[in-house]
């Protein structure tokens, strides 16, 4: 089992993902954004950061990096792809996931722990009981998820909304629980097939107990279990 972690110019969470996966006992390697060979990798992670300085729009330039056409091909073949924070923004710009991430309502960069409710079991990257609450930090300025009403209805109908921001007890505040103003409190979504997953929170930062929690482990262990199941 080998994770590939893509480094774009301006990525800054790639080391955290490498460390988290190695801590869990998996092999993981960096992939330079100029590379076009993904052979030997079982799962691809696009990490957080500020690829290309967030110029034009977050993720807008990174999506044209040479590696991205291979990532799209990998995803189309059913390979698991995870986009964390800036990685999520890149996945929407690359049209691997619907919608877009707008500037946070309130214009503030937000860095804090959030409560997230598991909304679906349709995603290869998260095998956790629906309704359970995870505690994972966010760290972003553009995490305000938006899509049109038809897309939202489709996401809901297919169980593609994987995580919603919530209160610590799992309830959702009547005026919204998303600290960034996200539509319908959406924190993470997957594609129809369940192999491509994007989320604003950083699961790689809560893998070792020393960093304040272990709720992030499930994402990496889930996809490994899923791949083992597929391989039979």
């Amino acid at each position: 089992m080998r994770f590939g972690v893509v480094i774009f110019p301006g990525s800054n969470c790639e080391q955290d993902v490498i460390r988290a996966t190695k801590y869990l006992g998996y092999d993981s390697e960096y992939i330079w954004h100029g590379d076009t060979d993904l052979s030997g990798f079982d799962a691809i992670v696009l990490p957080g950061g500020f690829s290309y300085g967030d110029y034009i729009r977050t993720g807008a330039v990174a999506r044209f990096s040479p590696v991205m056409s291979e990532v799209v091909r990998f995803a189309e073949k059913g390979g698991p792809v995870l986009g964390i924070c800036n990685g999520f923004q890149i996945l929407t710009e690359a049209h691997l996931l619907p919608g877009a991430l707008l500037r946070n309502r309130g214009l503030k960069f937000i860095c804090k722990s959030t409560s997230l409710r598991v909304e679906s079991d349709a995603c290869q990257w998260l095998d956790a009981p629906v309704g359970s609450v995870l505690s994972i930090p966010i760290n972003h300025n553009e995490g305000n998820y938006y899509c049109d009403t038809e897309t939202l209805a489709r996401l809901d109908a297919n169980g593609q909304v994987v995580l919603r921001y919530c209160e610590p007890d799992g309830s959702r505040a009547s005026d919204g629980s998303a600290p960034n103003g996200s539509l319908d409190d959406i924190a993470g979504i997957c594609n129809e097939r369940g192999n491509v997953f994007g989320l604003m929170p950083h699961p790689e930062r809560v893998v070792e107990p020393i960093t304040g929690g272990t709720d992030g482990q499930a994402f990496f262990t889930s996809v490994v279990a899923k791949l083992a199941e597929i391989a039979g």
């Binding site: 034009i56 929407t92 877009a100 500037r103 309130g106 103003g181």
Partner: protein, 78 residues
Amino acid sequence: MARYEIYVTYKAGIFDPPGATAERALVNLGYEGVHEVKIGKFIRIEADADLATVSEMCEKLLANPVIEDYRIETVEEG
């Protein structure tokens, strides 16, 4: 060489946080007649490219059609 000026703005109905903040600030400054402020991007391009090609540039990179509209003005024909 042709010159183009491009205006990129959020589609109607999409919340524009910088615009909303500017709007509140103007009202707080006493400009009570201010009803709405929208903030967008202005891009100037000089290129050996026709209008169709510049539209393609907008669709691909300069604007995100999921959330933004764009308007191209040809300032100088090539």
